[in-house]
């Protein structure tokens, strides 16, 4: 074979590799992998050099060391001799606490605001619009700082604002009555659990019966009775094992009760109002997405507006609402990390303290990321499951 043809052949082969879709794909992917491997090798090398130079060790062993710092109002037992790991756990619990409270508050506020914004009442819908637009367009960090400044600017403990003489508001927070439980209280909790279980069973049975026979059963009211009245009756029968300790004024402070810190209240208020505004938009879009024919058909069947909303509009709107709602919940959880600016000791804030004290920055950041990632993956897994369950079944 003559020389020239062979080089031409090679050139042709080479060009074919680049133009053929499959081989070109392989070439591109190999290049990407090489780039990533080179990048990782680069930062690993630098990290090793830098760590050696600064004399730092790596590994998670330091988590067992005592923390030597205090945490304000830990949810579980903690003192400055406790380990770093326990401090992180306290922080995680605080993050979960404020996130769950915020999610509950924001959902309620968001649904109310979303429905009210569609109200025919001009004044109400304008007021709600003003709230939504203002809150959505101002950074949440600013709102957290604002609420915190407002709460810490309240009167001193001596001049606390009394709310019906049971709760007291001052610049150190809100002091509310605390529960005192006696041994018999266990039974009340058991009664509550039984009530919930029974309510679920009855609701299922009622739905099945309605599907089969068309007869309705007031499962909502019955359930409420089982969940509320049954435990209350048990509570009364056992001689009221749960008592409330009303805070009592002393000369400089209060005795008894639970103090909710201004940091927690400020964070909760800011996250609730901020996320609530976003949720109200989602709810509004969801309700508007249900075609008008649905409500007209419901009215034609003789359903009252209230029932139409509950049985026709909301179930269909929920399908549209759930996916973006999930990401709002995740955003709220992530935004709770802004607690660090007002000194609420959440996961990030305590992680920061540990980082400053031990210097194990790589490990702390890895822990942060792992925890937040698993929180968000778990939430989206649950919501995907829920979403699949309520998704429209089409032919």
């Amino acid at each position: 074979m003559p020389q020239t043809t062979r080089t031409n052949d090679d050139w042709f082969q080479f060009r074919r590799i680049l133009t053929d879709e499959r081989s070109r794909g392989i070439v591109i992917q190999v290049l990407v992998v090489l780039a990533i491997v080179a990048f990782i090798a680069f930062i690993t090398r630098n990290t090793l050099i830098n760590l050696e130079r600064s004399g730092l060790t790596t590994g998670f062993g330091f988590l067992a060391d005592p923390a030597f710092f205090d945490i304000n109002q830990p949810l579980i037992e903690y003192n400055s001799q406790s380990s770093f790991a326990r401090a992180l756990l306290v922080g995680l619990l605080n993050t979960l606490l404020v996130s769950i409270l915020g999610i509950i508050g924001a959902t309620i506020l968001g649904f109310i605001a979303g429905v009210l914004r569609l109200s025919k009442n001009w004044l109400i819908s304008r007021l709600v619009t003003a709230y939504v637009e203002f809150t959505r367009n101002v950074p949440v960090l600013l709102q957290i700082l604002f609420w915190w400044a407002l709460l810490t600017g309240l009167p001193k403990v001596r001049d606390s604002v009394s709310i019906a003489d049971t709760a007291f508001l001052n610049n150190r927070g809100l002091r509310v009555p605390g529960p005192i439980t006696e041994p018999g209280f266990m039974w009340v909790l058991i009664a509550l659990a039984i009530g919930i279980a029974a309510a679920v069973v009855i609701a299922r049975w009622a739905r099945k019966r309605q599907d089969l026979t068309g007869q309705t059963f007031p499962s909502g009211l019955t359930g409420l009775g089982l969940i509320v009245a049954f435990p209350v009756l048990v509570h009364l029968a056992l001689g009221q094992p749960l008592d409330w300790e009303i805070p009592e004024r002393t000369r400089f402070n209060f005795r008894g009760g639970i103090n909710i810190t201004p940091e927690l209240i400020a964070l909760w208020l800011a996250l609730t109002t901020y996320t609530g505004a976003f949720i109200s938009e989602i709810v509004r879009a969801g309700i508007l997405s249900v075609s008008r024919g649905q409500s007209e058909a419901a009215f034609a069947l003789g359903l009252r507006p209230n029932l139409t909303m509950r049985k026709i509009i909301l179930p269909q709107a929920l399908r549209v609402i759930i996916p973006p709602l999930t990401s709002q919940y995740l955003n709220l959880t992530k935004n709770s990390s802004l607690a660090i600016v007002i000194g609420f000791q959440d996961l990030v804030s305590i992680g920061g303290s540990i980082l400053n004290q031990s210097g194990h920055s790589l490990e702390i950041v890895a822990i942060w990321m792992a925890i937040y990632l698993s929180l968000s993956l778990a939430t989206s897994a649950y919501m995907n499951w829920y979403n699949k369950r309520i998704a429209l079944v089409e032919r």
């Binding site: 009442n121 367009n137 600013l142 604002f146 400044a149 990030v348 990321m369």
Partner: protein
Amino acid sequence: MTHEPFHRTHDDMLSERPAPLATVGVLGWMRANLFSSLANTALTILAIYLLWISVPPFLQWAIFDGQLYGEDRFSCTGDGACWAWLDQRIGQFLYGFYPSEETWRIDLALVLLFPALAPWLMENVPGKRYMRWFSVAYPFIATFLLVGGFGLTEVSTDDLGGFSLNLVVGLSGIVLSLPVGILLALGRQSRLPLIRWFSVIFIEVVRGVPLITLLFVSNIILPIFLPADVALNSVVRVIVMITAFASAYMAEVIRGGLQAIPKGQYEAAQAMGLGYWQSMRLIILPQALKISIPGIVNTFIGLFKDTTLVIVIGLFDILGIARAMVSNPDWLGLSSETYVFVSLFFFVVCYAMSRYSMSLERKLDTDQR
């Protein structure tokens, strides 16, 4: 037989009578919109009550009782808001610690921003072609103006602060996150598994963690990852992190748009012999981006609000300046005034963006109705 006139009819047409007073005009409007039912009336009264207890006292505090001038907080004697700090500190709120004789450069950069944005935001701009070249050059011009060199006095980026820092970080993030987001969205849809996995992992990890942890990474981890002699500027690091953060969200928004394009469009592009990049550039992306506009602008708004987070790594944006000022003995405790003032800046910018996106949505809504 004579025709007995039927008593209840008229022979002539009755003249029109005005509609009942309660259904027209202000009264009718109020009846329909405010007092249509008992519940509605209750809501209206509640709303009026809420407005009554909040708006007049606020105006009284902010405006009628407000004090505009003074040396420090002690010269504010009234019950109202103390705006005296505005007079002395407004420069810091806008420009941070930028040398005061050089602030014209920031002003100029801001003024030049408008012609740079105009060809992208407005339809009828004369000389659109040349204006676009100016837009491309604008980032370099702005950087030159802000940082200096080549004849201008050099200013350290550490002196950047106040609202101009928010604008610099926000605009850079916006300009950079859109192309990165598009690439990530395409990567996530790619048929090449490695590219797809890489995009998925990047997007999910970045979206799964709070921005604050990424900023900590930029501050604490990046110096460990980089060779000792490389020191990245703190503003640049923040821009990189905020861009990475926003582009993951952007990618998801654009992916939604890509998924909404009917398969026929992809197939038609292929049938016409267009390659991957050509079909994306000419057929798919123009349509996908159009549907994604609301989401894209929302991401921009989120990004701009997130620029306040730079305070956790020790930069002084407008919020950082405000926070520093209210802990200064001269102005201690003026947090309501300062935070109200700062929130106005963000509200104006973000609200304008959302309004613009709404009008664009209406304009681009080419569906047959």
